[in-house]
């Protein structure tokens, strides 16, 4: 029992990762757009789980909050707006899908071939851990993740953060202008 639970705990990342892959595959393969959104939502939640398994708690929660709480709802909203028309879709997939899938699979095989040693070899067997804990500037990254991230965000990368806020503002205004109807 003990051993079983420990095994699950150790492989949490793999479990969430495989589930995320399943959700993503469902998203690409399903014919109804709403089902696609559901698959996307599932994939996002599982990726949040992956973040948690990597001990990035703040990022995991931000993932749930931003993606599941905001972005996917917007997608669903637009899908429901757009799907209200009764016009039948011609086909879900493109004509070149077969070639595209083959090409991607080839790319995957090539990737695995090139990085075979890195991924499966014994060249880099050490577990993913904190190699240079002194960079966390006196904070225990595992215990005070949110504080550590905030230090990174507001001390080291303040300028990108500010630029991001400007980008968000521009995107907001742009979205309003684009989606506005003429008569309003």
């Amino acid at each position: 029992m003990e051993h079983f639970i420990e095994t699950i705990g150790r492989n949490m990342f793999a479990i969430f990762g495989v589930m995320a892959l399943g959700g993503a595959a469902f998203m690409v393969a399903s014919r109804s757009a709403v089902h696609s959104v559901l698959g996307f939502l599932f994939a996002m939640l599982c990726i949040a789980g992956c973040f948690l398994a990597l001990e990035a708690e703040f990022l995991g929660m931000a993932q749930i909050l931003v993606y599941a709480g905001g972005i996917v709802v917007l997608f669903l909203f637009v899908v429901m707006l757009v799907e209200m028309s009764k016009k039948k879709e011609k086909e879900v997939f493109q004509l070149q899908s077969r070639y595209a899938v083959v090409a991607i699979l080839l790319g995957a095989v090539a990737f695995l071939g090139v990085f075979r040693k890195v991924l499966f070899g014994a060249a880099n067997p050490q577990a993913l851990g904190l190699l240079r804990p002194e960079l966390a500037q006196g904070l225990d990254v595992a215990k005070q993740n949110a504080q550590a991230v905030s230090r990174g965000l507001f001390a080291d990368y303040l300028l990108p953060f500010e630029i991001l806020s400007v980008i968000l503002l521009v995107a907001l205004v742009g979205a309003v202008v684009l989606a506005k109807t003429e008569r309003v």
């Binding site: 709403v34 909050l65 599941a68 905001g70 709802v73 909203f77 949110a146």
Partner: protein, 387 residues
Amino acid sequence: MPIPTLTQSIVITLIQCLLVVIFVFVVVPLTVFAERKVLGYLQQRLGSTRVASGHVGVTGWMNRGMWKWGRVPVLSYWRGIPGLVADVLKLILKEDVIPAKADKFVFFIAPAISMVSAVVVFAAVSFVPGVFFTFPKWFPYLGGLPVSGGIADINVGLLWILGVASVGVYGIVLAGWASNSKYPLLGGLRSAAQMVSYEVPLAISLLAPVVLSASLNFGEMSARMAVGLPFWGLVPQILGFLIYLTCGFAETNRLPFDMPEAENELVAGFHTEYSGMKFGFFYLAEYINMTVVAALAAGFFLGGPWLLPFGLQGLVNPFLPAFLKWFGEPHAIFFVVKIIFLLFTYIWVRGTIPRYRYDQVMSVAWKYLIPMALVNLLLAALVRCFA
């Protein structure tokens, strides 16, 4: 204090989950009953005073007996209580109708999403700081082990609560879409827009306690707000409290922000096509969400498990009845009492304020609540800076 093994700690967590589920499923039916009675009293009625026919069956016999007895509704407060059981039985026994053109999978999964996201939020709510109780020594397997006051007292508890609560939108939106019917779709679209809008001021108003307490952990936040600030932080955060309550009403789709299921425009909104226990899940989820919002408000603005702020507890202690003193200073009972008061406030507001129009709902969120919440956040930052 013995350190639990992995399996033991998981068993303890399961016990905590069971306790929370029991709490939820005790509070929710009582809230449903209280809603009927309190709404009645607010409108000078009596609320529900009998179950089914007053003349058939056991309850009918009881009713007749009471009337024969004194011609006065002796238990006029409580005669509706069998309605609790009757409600649940009705929901369980009803036929579960699925519309022929509905999307079966999504139709099935929507109430589940609603329910799960409502219950799971409680994982990060800590009812008491520290140890809730300790298993006695004779207890098999778990003897002598402590049980903490929250299931998962994680560092990013507030974010967890906000994130999972926001997943609850999908239940409503997907239910509206999957029913393949006009009114549910309109209700779902409305609620998507409404809940996304209200999440913004809600989150910003909760940021003020975060700033004041410098933590994202539920227990820590409630403790610091309760002990470190005057009157559980209610006085410096009165604006934030009001904004939070308003957004909480909107997030749980309660009147006066009852857009998704506007009875007079949309039949029953997103759950028009639902029946049986699937509808019951939506019904339960609404009340559980109310409890969650009340728990957050009680924890952050009303001091959570702390009876009185500062050292005032010591001043009041001599005048308290003995059983209250027995509970000690931070105790879950105070938290629960505050939650119940806030649930009463929900019903009170519902019985008082009429429903907003849809455009009014949106303009309240974007034009008033968000700027006010930002101002409140600024105030909190100033307080933190200079105090």
